[in-house]
Symmetry: C2
Subunit: 144 residues, 2 copies
Amino acid sequence: MKGKEKRAKEAGDVLRELGYRLTPQRMLILAAVQASDSHISAEEIYSQVRAQYPHVNISTVYRTLDLLKGLSLVTETDLGEGRVRYHYADKGHHHHLICERCGAIIDVDENLFLPLKRTLLKDYQFNADIRHFAIFGRCTKCPR
Amino acid sequence: MKGKEKRAKEAGDVLRELGYRLTPQRMLILAAVQASDSHISAEEIYSQVRAQYPHVNISTVYRTLDLLKGLSLVTETDLGEGRVRYHYADKGHHHHLICERCGAIIDVDENLFLPLKRTLLKDYQFNADIRHFAIFGRCTKCPR
DNA sequence: GTTGCGCCTGCAAGCTATTGCAACAACCTC
DNA sequence: GAGGTTGTTGCAATAGCTTGCAGGCGCAAC
């Protein structure tokens, strides 16, 4: 069994173990997110899945992504393109700085947010789910 | 001149000084955001404005809010309701912690983010626009 | 292998928000 | 005040995403 298939199977098992049904749609959607090396959009997932299973509906893609998100198997990020992108959670958490002027996207390590997370827990009794943040602003290379 | 009208006029002047035209639509939309004591949605702004100026179009509301956002006159927040809310910028910046379980919304002072903002500027040469953040997670009162 | 429960899916309708285009009107100039 | 320029607006079409509902199908029990 190749690595990619093994990962997909394992993630599928998670679903089954939690009492969710393992449908072909769910397996294909999960595999598409895992196979993507970068951030993938719902529409891209949809067309990949439909290539193998023509009857899927886009709403199933969204509902499944929502489920996987809730199970922390995928994370969701709004990079400001007017559409949300998804990312397989095991590939490591990171955050994005997005320059509103030049559109540059800078990746940031998740550790940068640990102090904030600690403060929120200590002072506000709030367990923040900081996994895939997008912060807008200006990179200093851009004028004004 | 009463305080509210004075504020609206001043904000309108900002538009004109920057070379934007001061249309009745823009003045009414700006006034609606300023008059709102809390966060107001585009649809609410739309119906308020339409009461005085029946011909406005919802797309004008969105376009104007986008403009005002770019000029830092209003800030935009996604509180996870499936619609974005707007807030007059002069009323002070703050952030929100949103519990995904019970839906509670906790307000957080903006100062909490200053260390992060400093780090991003120093280590990543990025001037983050941290004005109205929404952080999802769980309040510790909620089980599991 | 068969059966049945109830979770999941496809479909269609609906919601929020965006965009292209032609017509309009705010503002400047004279 | 009249006229021209061009930034704005209204309209309609469209995109991305969500939701209600009826029927389908995964899974466990036998």
